[in-house]
Amino acid sequence: MSILKIKNVHLKIENKPILKGISLSVNKGEIHAVMGPNGSGKSTLSYMLAGREGYELESGEVKFENKDITSFLPNERANAGLFLAFQYPVELPGVSSVNFLREAVNSRRKYLGKEEFNHLNFVKEVRKVADEMFVKDEMLKRSVNVGFSGGEKKRFEILQMALLQPVLSILDETDSGLDIDALKIVSHGVNKYKNNDNAIILITHYQRLLDYIVPDFVHILVDGEIKRSGGPELAKYVEKNGYAGIINAA
């Protein structure tokens, strides 16, 4: 069952081609890793999928659960079950984390035709999930991402993923800036959420994360193109030989 189908996607930013004909197919139950050096277009790919303003396709196709989503607004994509864990989660001063989570969860529930949570029920729900994700109660009382450590920010992203139950999660360099313990906690959260009905795209520099979240497929993105695809062994090859070998071979 296809969750995401990208076909020959081209995208320019300020007239400069960033994505140059990317195709990618993600099915239910799969984990895909997209690896590549800095500036290869990894984050652009994630913003394009999430529908960020300024990241519109020049040509190509993007189908999410067999629907063309290229004209969907970012919030419509989110409500339909497309989730992006941010590389740099954004601070919202004065906005309490619990309220923010409730707004997010309720807009997804509304989209799904489910009853929205009232404050009390939501607090119960969030406590349960937060506990599983090692997010402390005290953190939920703070403003969104304000004063969070690097590790807390990433854990908060994963908590949002677990609460929203998206169909497709794109984790944009979720491992960056994490020490090994934090990495383990975040990976534990991701693995707990993962099941046969959803899918994950891991965007990462390093193979390190892939020791904890094992991908089914690895794609090497260089200069706006997927130069090579393979299984987990491809990541190990890159770790050992760097991207240079792949760039030269292509």
Partner: protein, 483 residues
């Protein structure tokens, strides 16, 4: 999905209009248009006022004639024709009302539309309401329950009849008649408003609340509120305001006076949602209001909290005169301007007593092509030993056609006093919006959430019952401000 979002947009566009822009058909008794001594005599006799009050009004009117409108505020509007306004409009009543059941059902319906249940629902909420419709106070609820505790809460016209000595003693004692152009005008023609007296040692058992509504075309509203809290008393008072949508501008020039005796506390909250005019600045209320509190006794405290979202022009500086030693003045303000709205608002903290303390937290949000100015004065007089003030002014800009201004006036006349002023200006960033969108929020919910976060320090000062309403109002006021 494209179709869906288009439909949503259409629905929004049609509902974006001012929610309270309806008018009510009630039989109205009006004084002839225009302003002269006869009109003032007419108002005074309609209200069967004592002679001293008529004299007071006439004195105010004569002073007003010689005064000029203030022109130091950063607001721009064409001159008001004071002869083109009705100064008295009252829903026609056959006889004096004995209970709520006798109030014109059309008026009650209006208040229901406004979300002010005058009857049972407020009982549950424990809020006593005085409602002023155009010029006349139509219903005051819970009078009995209040009077058990000794609290007087009634229309000021009634107080003039029943407690003339009290009114005479305090009327104009905080805001002198000739304080400014609009206070002189108000003193001459004020028609109604609320009167509150909380006796010594009494903590008012419920929130007191007034709703003001301008319904009639070409009417001005000149209400007058007087709140006196005696030693160790406490009251929390909230006013809300709306008006129908009209093409011409309407004038609202109110005066509010607060007096706090020894150890007394007054918490005065305003949610102001007068009709703001259309996107191009046509119509809307001119909100020219003078509010001032006097901390007369030692250790007394006055807190102003305001959420200002409406009016085409807001000119308003709720202030505290800190006379008593160790008295405390607070000003918490959220002022939102969108489209062509102009707001020039802030406070004055006049420190006279020793160890007096004041706090000013102002949050200005400008969107559209609006202009939003904070203007505040902190004056530490020679007698105010060890006085302290802390001021924080934050401005948030939405879009690139609006403006925000901060104009602090600080006069420090005591060496051991401490005055602090902090100011910031920020914008809602694309990153913040996109983060919210990616979590499923549409642009209006996202803006509302971010702005409410920005205002949090002020919003938490509002009485619980009104905080939720005010939060929603912030969202509504900013609709359409983010593409």
């Amino acid at each position: 999905m494209v179709a869906t979002s288009e439909t949503i947009k259409k629905v929004r566009d049609t509902t974006k209009k001012y929610k309270y822009g309806f008018t009510t058909n009630v039989n109205v008794e009006k004084a002839p248009k225009g302003l002269n001594e006869d009109i003032i005599r007419f108002i005074s006799s309609k209200k069967s006022e004592p002679k001293w009050l008529l004299e007071w009004r006439l004195m105010a009117y004569r002073k007003w004639l010689k005064m000029e409108k203030p022109n130091w505020a950063k607001v721009d509007f064409s001159d008001i024709n004071y002869q083109d306004i009705y100064y008295y409009a009252a829903p026609k009543q056959k006889k004096k009302l004995e209970s709520l059941d006798e109030v014109d059902p059309e008026i009650l319906k209006t208040y229901e539309k406004l979300g002010i249940p005058l009857t049972e629902q407020k009982m549950l909420a424990g809020v006593a309401v005085d409602a002023v419709f155009d010029s006349v106070s139509v219903a005051t609820t819970f009078k009995e329950k209040l009077s058990e505790s000794g609290v007087i809460f009634c229309p000021i016209s009634e107080a003039i009849q029943k407690y003339p000595q009290l009114v005479k003693k305090y009327l104009g004692s905080v805001v002198p008649v000739s304080d400014n152009y609009y206070t002189a005008l108000n003193s001459a023609v004020f028609t109604d408003g609320s009167f509150v007296l909380v006796p010594k040692d009494v903590k008012c058992p419920m929130e007191l609340s007034t709703y003001f509504r301008i319904n009639e075309q070409n009417t001005g509203q000149f209400e007058r509120t007087l709140i006196v809290v005696e030693d160790s008393g406490y009251v929390s008072y909230l006013e809300g305001c709306t008006a129908p949508q009209r093409d011409e501008n309407q004038l609202h020039a109110a005066v509010v006076e607060l007096v706090a005796m020894k150890d007394a506390q007054i918490k005065y909250s305003t949610v102001q949602n007068w009709y703001p005019g259309d996107e191009n600045g046509k119509g809307g209320i001119y909100n020219f209001v003078t509010k001032r509190g006097k901390c007369l006794g030692d250790r007394s405290k006055i807190s102003w909290t305001q959420v200002e979202t409406g009016s085409s022009i807001t000119w308003k500086y709720p202030s505290c005169i800190l006379m008593g030693n160790q008295s405390v003045g607070e000003f918490y303000s959220v002022a939102i301007t969108n489209n062509a709205q102009q707001a020039d608002t802030g406070t004055k903290m006049i420190h006279i007593g020793k160890d007096t303390k004041s706090t000013i937290i102002s949050k200005g949000i400008s969107a559209g092509k609006s202009s939003n100015t904070y203007r505040g004065q902190v004056q530490i007089q020679k007698t105010a030993n060890k006085a302290r003030n802390f001021t924080q002014c934050d401005s948030l800009l939405i879009g690139d056609k609006c403006s925000a201004h901060t104009v602090p006036y600080i006069a420090q006349n005591v060496a051991n006093a401490k005055v602090e002023h902090e100011a910031t200006t920020s914008k809602i960033s694309d990153d913040q919006l996109f983060y919210c969108f990616q979590r499923g929020l549409d642009s209006e919910s996202a803006t509302s959430l971010i702005v409410n976060g920005f205002c949090k320090e002020v919003m938490k000062e509002l009485p619980m019952e009104f905080a939720v309403e005010a939060q929603k109002l912030i969202g509504i006021s900013l609709e359409g401000s983010v593409g």
